[in-house]
């Protein structure tokens, strides 16, 4: 323990594959392992759930651990051969896209608005408004999704009562019924985007403010570069990693609130389907939906890791990444 072995973080460089390919392969292997763990967790959990809800004398948890493992193996067996029940398959396909659309809209909106707002705030970081902005973001992070959804709904109803114009459908959304998706996605996406927006704004503001005070920025300005170039090329790129990390964290926020928002707006997505499946005790359904959620999240983080390495050359040299 007294000697610190740093070789672990810089492996020998006699590899055949390009460095980044090896990295991606390593990560994919890891994702496969995690996927197994996820499915095992869901199946075990659901079996326990059904067990504890039975009226008779429930079995002890340890007696279920073994069968759950076998069931997990079965699940992957079927899933990899495409033998999953068509109900599961259809529902997965049917719910995955709407959820993805909603989440992507929300996080995309949050990221763009958040970076812009945070950047502006950082640019005027010496103004007296800077600190209140920071405080405001704290409050933004504290808004529970159900509260915001409720407020939006009440506001929309009041507005409709006042003017006769509905701003957006607030209830009973069905993707099949209407043609235009845009108005439907507004309310849930706004709700889902609120906390990520506050979080990304905050992180952008903080990290950009810090970078903008660095010496190399002053050097760049001294060289005669315009403020726009300095901002985009020097400052933003240096603040990029924390901002991207914030986006990943936001994605977690979003995934966490997804069932709530979908339930509130009856958005036919993964979260609501999973809630339903849990209440119904549909083991494989939950496992399939949960697996798709988890793997998606892991793949996105992998993608972001690659983007990190593209943004920050230093990471490439280290050659190790266990992901954010």
């Amino acid at each position: 323990m007294e000697t610190y072995d740093i070789s672990a973080s810089s492996p020998p460089r006699n590899q055949v594959l390009p460095e980044w390919v090896a990295f991606v392969l390593r990560r994919l292997l890891f994702i496969a392992g995690v996927a197994f763990a996820i499915v095992y967790f869901y199946i075990f959990g659901l079996r326990l759930l059904i067990n504890s809800a039975t009226v008779g004398r429930p079995v002890s948890a340890w007696e279920l651990a073994g069968p759950a493992l076998e069931e997990t193996v079965d699940f992957f067996n079927d899933a990899l051969r495409g033998n999953l029940s068509y109900v599961v398959r259809d529902l997965l396909v049917e719910t995955y896209l709407p959820s993805g659309r909603l989440l992507l809209t929300a996080i995309g909106m949050a990221a763009v608005l958040g970076v812009v707002a945070g950047g502006l705030a950082a640019a005027w970081r010496h103004s007296p408004l800077a600190l209140p902005t920071l405080t405001l973001t704290v409050i933004g992070i504290s808004i529970p999704s159900f509260f915001l959804a409720l407020l939006l709904q009440v506001a929309d109803i009041r507005f409709y009562q006042r003017t006769g114009v509905g701003l957006f459908p607030v209830y009973g959304i069905s993707l099949r019924r209407t043609e235009s998706l845009l108005p439907q996605v507004v309310a849930p996406a706004l709700v889902l985007a609120a906390r990520p927006l506050a979080h990304i704004t905050r992180v952008t503001f903080v990290s950009l403010s810090e970078v903008l005070e660095r010496d190399f920025i002053r050097t760049a300005r001294a060289k005669g570069l315009g403020p726009t170039v300095v901002f985009w090329r020097h400052a933003l790129r240096n603040a990029g990693i924390p901002i991207l990390t914030a986006v990943v964290v936001s994605l977690r926020f979003g995934l966490g609130s997804l069932p709530v928002v979908e339930l509130f707006f009856t958005w036919p997505g993964l979260g609501q389907a999973m809630l339903e499946a849990i209440y119904q005790g549909q083991v494989w359904m939950v496992a399939a939906l949960g697996l798709s959620l988890g793997v998606t999240f892991l793949l996105i983080t992998l993608l972001l890791d690659l983007v990190y390495r593209w943004i920050d050359p230093r990471l490439r040299e280290v050659g190790e990444g266990s992901g954010p």
Binding site: M1, Y4, D5, S9, F30, V34, F41, G45, L46, L49, S52, A53, H126, S127, V138, I139, I141, S142, I143, P144, S145, F146, F147, A149, L150, Q153, Y171, V206, S209, E210, E213, I241, P242, R252, L255, G256, S257, L258, P259, V260, L263, F264, G271, M274, L275, I278, Y279, V286, G290, L293, G294, V295, F297, Y308, D312, R314, V318, G321, S322, P324
Partner: protein
């Protein structure tokens, strides 16, 4: 540096916030105190400097997040401590409101905000404000516990991982954190909670939310440990010989502490948020109870007032009844904001060095932490319905009990003799009281026919010359009976003991005479036999065989004046008395026998030709009974029903029963006040009804308060009530408790006799008594015929204080032990509250 960021999102996130603060301070000090810029010159020539305390104060006062967050958290703390005291009603006890009538219109719950319910009610009519105030305690205590366990878990796991960076432990922890990160926290927590069985309440939530939520803290702690481990001051610690654990605790931990405090506050916010979201999707502490709304619909209602639970089902109401959902949602938003703002403000303070966290590692803080933990444990223990019930049960008013008893024993009521004017007045009194307590109360008339003695009956032990050796006391030693041939008559004769083989005793003889009794000659003698040991209609046989009187040994010697059928008082009559075993012993004495011996002999009888054994006892007794002709009387049962508040449980009936009349004035003019014997049970019953109304306790099951008339009779008011189709038919009898002689001075504690049914109710009563510190024993005998009636599904109990013999003439209010009476009332009250309110017990 960058590699570290890259590895560690949690650390990264918080780290960059930390770094930014340098700027914030500069901006703030520039605008608020331009002179502060000079502070960098402090080392050389300090200009006029503000006292440090004032600087500190200024930092605190200008820290908006700290102030606002602190205020909100303080308000929440007050809510935790005093919320229940401030609430207009107790949601644990208050049942639903069904209809409200205002300005000529009926309203159904949920009621909108109004002067009466400032924040409206939920769909069961429970007051939102009260539930919010009670919920503050439940929700925040839950959140605090979860946060603390998360913190401990994160600290230990993250610290270990960071200290042994790169080893197996580290890889395991890091891997687990990543798996957790890829799971949607809400759904996973929900599965865990259901898997561990939501009905177990708070512990399940703590386990589940900690299992899914320790990752971020662990990640942060791990990164900090890795960073600090490489600092040079750790080497110096190592040099002076500190163990790794010592190093971690003494040198690494204090460096992590400031950030940990902030993280704890932010974590509180996060935990509250997820509690709210769980509640929204229908997962809340305890899981609620399921209620059948109609044939096809079952709805889940929460029982523990908690913010998350109040959010449940909010989607259905959000549009039409926004107030139902809005207020708990605001509560969540405000408290999450409060904790996050406080965390933010504290972080600013810490970064400016105004607040030295090293202070926190002193013994004083340790004591404070211990105190707070103790207080939380206390709150946890006083949380939930049980303490509320107990508090309500304890409020039995002794003055009220005495008031009822004093009314019952006033001389004008003449001891409330069965069928007398006094009993009728007592019934009207009880009716009035029950009605005034908001019960649906009514009288039930029960016609009876009574043949009462015109002069005092006599039973005495005499010698050959007719001199009285011993006089027995009516009611205490014997009582007359008018069953069949029993009636008026006078006799003085030898006593013969007649015993029957137990298996023959119950066989009904042919109407023309019993051939089994051939040879039994009872001429000129008085028969003594044991109750239940003679063949049916043996009195006729005894009469035919020349007996002059009958003595039946029984534990129940209450006079039986009731003429039930045409067979009663059948001519010719002979005196029939029921005597106690003690009186029997007295008569048996000359023959060297006693009652126990007699019973042993019955048991030892061999099966043979002869089914009877007759033995002259060598004792003479004189018996005299003179009855008036039967007269018609009307008895009045008083019944009061309190409707159950719960749709699913209102069909189940809990019965609390006692009788209110007694022997009244005897034929010799003795007054039997019956304070304990016939008054105490009804007094307790009335007091409970009063208390429930005063504290607006609404039971979930329906409760029947029954004051029976003719408690001493073979066919009492209770029998008549049960025989008459009506009330009971529509209910499912859940539990029955008969109260009898609950205020006597004798006895150490309650004596309970399980009459029938399951043992749940008995266990409940025992537990209630233990909770109130009252001793309780099993035993006792039913002294009144109606006490064997009615079978509650959860059990039927007969409750007495001690198991005393009747005191009769001396049974006045003065002889009542108020302490005993009040304790009995409390136990019965707690038992009834629980039985009426808990879905299962």
């Amino acid at each position: 540096m960058m590699a570290e960021h890259h590895k560690d999102t949690g650390a990264r996130r918080r780290g960059e916030l930390n770094r930014k603060e340098g700027k914030g301070r500069k901006v703030l000090s520039y605008f608020l105190n331009p002179r502060a810029d000079l502070s960098r010159l402090r080392g050389t020539s300090p200009p006029e400097e503000m006292p440090e305390r004032r600087v500190r104060l200024r930092h605190v006062l200008l820290n908006f997040p700290l102030l606002v967050g602190g205020l909100i958290v303080l308000a929440l703390f007050v809510g935790v401590l005093f919320g229940p005291a401030l609430a207009p009603e107790n949601p644990y006890l208050r049942g639903r409101r069904v209809l409200e009538y205002r300005d000529g219109t009926f309203y159904r719950p949920p009621f909108p905000p109004s002067p009466e319910h400032s924040l409206g009610t939920d769909e069961l009519g429970r007051d939102t404000l009260s539930m919010l105030l009670y919920g503050t305690r439940n929700t925040l205590v839950a959140a605090t516990f979860i946060t603390m366990v998360r913190l401990a878990l994160g600290l230990v796991l993250g610290g270990t991982a960071g200290w042994f960076e790169g080893r197996l432990v580290d890889q395991l922890v890091t891997g687990a954190v990543q798996v957790l990160a890829s799971l949607p926290m809400l759904l996973v927590a929900m599965i865990l909670i259901f898997a561990l069985d939501i009905r177990r309440g708070l512990p399940v939530f703590i386990v589940a939310l900690c299992a899914v939520g320790w990752g971020e803290i662990a990640q942060y702690v791990r990164a900090e440990f890795i960073r600090i481990k490489k600092e040079p001051f750790l080497d110096s610690g190592r040099v002076i010989g500190l163990t790794p654990l010592g190093l971690a605790v003494r040198h690494v931990l204090p460096n992590v502490l400031p950030a940990l405090i902030v993280i704890t506050l932010l974590e509180m916010g996060a935990v509250l948020m997820i509690l709210g979201e769980l509640g929204f999707v229908g997962v809340y502490i305890g899981g609620g109870i399921s209620i059948q709304v109609d044939d096809f619909t079952r709805r889940q209602y929460f029982t523990v007032p908690e913010w998350g639970a109040m959010m449940a089902g909010s989607r259905a109401w959000a549009r039409s009844r926004p107030w139902m959902v809005l207020f708990p949602a605001i509560a969540f938003f405000a408290s999450v904001t409060g904790f996050n703002l406080l965390g933010e403000g504290l972080r600013r303070l810490i970064e400016r060095g105004v607040f030295n966290t090293a202070v926190l590692l002193s013994w004083r803080v340790l004591i404070a932490a211990a105190l707070i933990t103790g207080a939380s444990v206390y709150v946890i223990l006083t949380l939930g319905p049980a303490p509320s019930y107990r508090h309500l049960a304890r409020q039995v008013d002794e003055a009220g009990l005495i008031r009822h008893l004093e009314f019952f024993t006033t001389p004008e009521l003449e001891g409330r003799g069965v069928g007398s004017e006094g009993a009728r007045r007592a019934a009207e009194y009880i009716l009035g009281e029950l009605s005034s307590y908001g019960l649906t109360a009514w009288l039930q008339e029960v016609p009876v026919s009574l043949a009462r003695p015109v002069e005092p009956p006599e039973l005495a032990l005499v010698d050959e010359e007719g001199r009285v050796l011993h006089t027995f006391t009516r009611l205490a030693d014997y009582g007359e009976s008018v069953e069949r041939h029993g009636g008026s008559g006078e006799a003085e004769a030898e006593v013969v003991l007649v015993l029957f083989h137990p298996s023959e005793a119950t066989r009904r003889p042919p109407p023309e005479g019993d051939p089994r009794l051939r040879g039994l000659d009872l001429r000129g003698r008085i028969v003594m036999m044991v109750a239940g040991n003679a063949p049916p209609a043996f009195d006729t046989e005894a009469l035919v065989r020349g007996a002059e009187g009958v003595l039946v040994v029984s534990t129940d010697v209450t006079p039986r004046p009731q003429v039930l059928s045409e067979e009663d008082l059948e001519q010719p009559e002979l005196p029939v008395l029921r005597i106690t075993p003690a009186a029997a012993d007295r008569i048996l004495e000359p023959s060297g026998l006693d009652f126990d011996g007699v019973q042993a002999r019955i048991a030892a009888l061999e099966e043979g030709e002869q089914v009877w054994v007759a033995q002259d006892l060598g004792a003479r007794v004189r018996v005299r009974v003179a009855l008036a002709p039967p007269e018609e009387a009307t008895l009045h049962n008083v019944l009061g029903i309190l409707d159950g508040a719960d749709a699913g449980l209102a069909d189940e009936l809990v019965v609390v029963s006692a009788h209110y009349d007694g022997p009244g004035r005897g034929p010799d003019g003795t007054l039997y006040p019956g304070a304990n014997e016939n008054g105490s049970g009804v007094a307790v019953m009335l007091e409970i009804a009063r208390l429930w109304q005063e504290q607006s306790f609404q039971p979930r099951r329906s409760v029947l308060f029954a004051a029976w008339a003719g408690g001493d009779l073979r066919y009492s008011g209770a029998h008549a009530f049960l025989d008459r189709p009506g009330v009971l038919g529509t209910y499912d009898l859940s539990a029955v408790i008969h109260l009898d002689r609950v205020g006597g001075p004798e006895g150490e504690g309650l004596v309970v006799r399980p009459v029938s049914g399951r043992s749940n109710f008995l266990n409940l009563l025992t537990a209630s008594a233990n909770r109130l510190g009252v001793t309780v024993a099993q035993g006792g005998w039913p002294r009144h015929p109606y006490q064997g009636l009615m079978t509650g599904r959860y059990g039927t109990l007969l409750v007495t204080w001690g198991d005393p013999d009747p005191a009769l003439a001396t049974d006045t209010v003065e002889s009542i032990d108020l302490d005993h009476l009040s304790q009995a009332a409390q136990v019965v009250n707690l038992t009834l509250i629980t039985a009426a309110h808990e879905p299962r017990y």
